[in-house]
Symmetry: C2
Amino acid sequence: MTHAQPSIQILHAKWLITCEEKNQILEKHALVIQNDKILAILPSDEATHRYPTALHQHYPSHAILPGFINSHTHIAMNIFRGFADDLELMDWLSNYIWPAEGKWVSHELVYDASQLAIAEMIRCGTTCFNDMYFFLGATAEAAEEAGIRAHIGMHIIDVPTAWARTTEEYFSKAIEFYEAYKNHPLITPTLAPHSTYTVSMENLKRVKELAQQYHLKINIHLQEVPYEIERSMAVYNKRPLQCLHDLGMVTPDLIAIHMTQLDQQDLAILQEMKPHIVHCPESNMKLASGACPVEQLNQLGINVALGTDSAASNNDLDMMGEMRSAALLGKLVAKDPKAVSAETTLKMATLHGARALGIERYTGSLTPGKAADCIPINLNRIETQPLYHPLSHIVYAASCHQVTDVWVAGKQLLKNRQLLTLDKSKLIKKAKTWRNKIKK
Amino acid sequence: MTHAQPSIQILHAKWLITCEEKNQILEKHALVIQNDKILAILPSDEATHRYPTALHQHYPSHAILPGFINSHTHIAMNIFRGFADDLELMDWLSNYIWPAEGKWVSHELVYDASQLAIAEMIRCGTTCFNDMYFFLGATAEAAEEAGIRAHIGMHIIDVPTAWARTTEEYFSKAIEFYEAYKNHPLITPTLAPHSTYTVSMENLKRVKELAQQYHLKINIHLQEVPYEIERSMAVYNKRPLQCLHDLGMVTPDLIAIHMTQLDQQDLAILQEMKPHIVHCPESNMKLASGACPVEQLNQLGINVALGTDSAASNNDLDMMGEMRSAALLGKLVAKDPKAVSAETTLKMATLHGARALGIERYTGSLTPGKAADCIPINLNRIETQPLYHPLSHIVYAASCHQVTDVWVAGKQLLKNRQLLTLDKSKLIKKAKTWRNKIKK
């Protein structure tokens, strides 16, 4: 039987790397895409034979894999990329980032900065990001227009900002945003209380109730730096994770970000309650926060996803670089070169991200029925030759410049390194205009 | 007065980053190159006026800096890039690398692999590398033909290999190589005893005598992994650094590679004797060896250079990625985000590399009179916008794909990302041929 739907696109690749839990590397296979979904995975010859009139595209030196899921970021902060580096966290925040944000953050800035960041992410093979910032509508709008999948964290913090002055306003804006986007195919609202040191227990309880009412994931920065533990012990006489546990918030709907400071008691809670953890190795290193013990968590069966954090503390949104850093740092921390293998790392950036975000049923791997969120990576480069194992090169040797194309939900966003839904020159021009204002 | 030498090339840049000890970032300046040397650094307008008939090239969105110096590598091992990963060091060496080397390493393989590696290094802005491997002539020949600056370590190891069967043969081949290249403008012979656990004290003493006789630098892997210390204590009842110190080898002519395992006694020796240290953060992380305490060494006034190690344990030869890893890891290890700043890191990859290799007088910074070894980096990219500080972006945000051109000793080796002295397609083809042989 042959098919002749014009809505079918077929991507033929040297390798398909499925990133399913039992990962497969299929040689000379094709990904059959119908509308927004993966219809089938077939040997190339068979796909050619079965779909003679479909649009066939050939990636003869490429590995096709699911797009990357950046499980923690604040994309609009890339307008402050390189604004201030090599500083103590509190000095950096108090004397550089917060004053600049206080002065400049607006719907307009967040929209422009989000577009710039989305352009960078698409160029690096990211098909979904999990954000946390202010002026949510601006980021959602930019994501929707660009065609990228976005989880937008509805920020709650006990500090007045240009976005909201009071706790009431934070909550009412969150609900308003939720109502606007609750059924959107690409945008998913989530809750994002900043941390246990910037949100009171009372307000965290309210976040939990809201999450239950609307079935929302909760993102929170947790145990990122030693200071957080010290403060929590001084104020509550318990560690931040224990505070959340006592509120009943530590569940599989919790996305705990950073987690560089863990003791045995923390590990026991994590193992029992199974929240998801997002590891941000480059930001943690750059801010000298500490290192999440990824191998240990994996061995305890705790799901660990990967995020870049913002470009203000990274200073990029490149998930391929982040994978490499995660694999390298993971081995050093575990004192074991077998730890955090290439395959584990690739899954942290794909399937395990989808699992953390609660979207594993429709993205995160190349599986028929899931969304066609996928990227070809060209491995026929000086930098990735000779080639013994494509997966090794993707994690340890390739760079995001080798991502040639990007599809999200069957729609192509990058073609032969050219952005199809964003205007690169215009974005660079806008970035320069903001830079000139902020630099003053 | 105006000049009209046709041998003058003038590179105009948005920024010149000199990388001198007192680093300068000069806006809208020009690098005036005469033959193989930097003749002058002038404001762009002045250079235009003074040299009306010279060849003017404009880099309006670029920073021009000295080329990178990769202070430790085994370039030909890139033929084994990704051959085996995620393994214990001794398992990796004994069961994968050494058998493959034993079977395949030859003049022909080293020549082909060196060409491939040099192509990668040039594409990443490296203008000088400090190597250590077998079949020295093959690497020297490849470097000479490609026009890159190379320090070739004359390997000494108490193990028979395809290169030399006996200690006598290692030494005689070293002397032969030295005689052939002692006056070469681009190739510098150095001594490279493998380590204190693979070379006897007697042979190390001989290395030292040879170094003194011919005024050669000595490269050695030193205190890379805990095992090395344990073995040295068991065999000699002293640490490897102390062994070398007792032989009188710890001097400013010693290049100690790795140094991840340091105690107070080691630091005292280093501070007194001032050898140079090469930090290889990515290899050390990937093999879970440990981390060199760069900030502490810098504070003691000990010179630390940067190297990638081989692509078999990295898995690339990219000095820009290595800088970023060095800065990030340096902060984490020092528990201080101010540690190993962007500027310090850039110097580790340029001037401090030249200092370690003993060639600071003629390369490593943009200084009139030094060799014209320089690279423009285009910062007008999505990934490096907005731009507040060019130096921050070079270390923390840019990638080597933004290196547009490369000059070594005034000769252009890369032009708008195209290799001028090597044939990319031919190299990839050769890499594939070797891969097919080795994979069997």
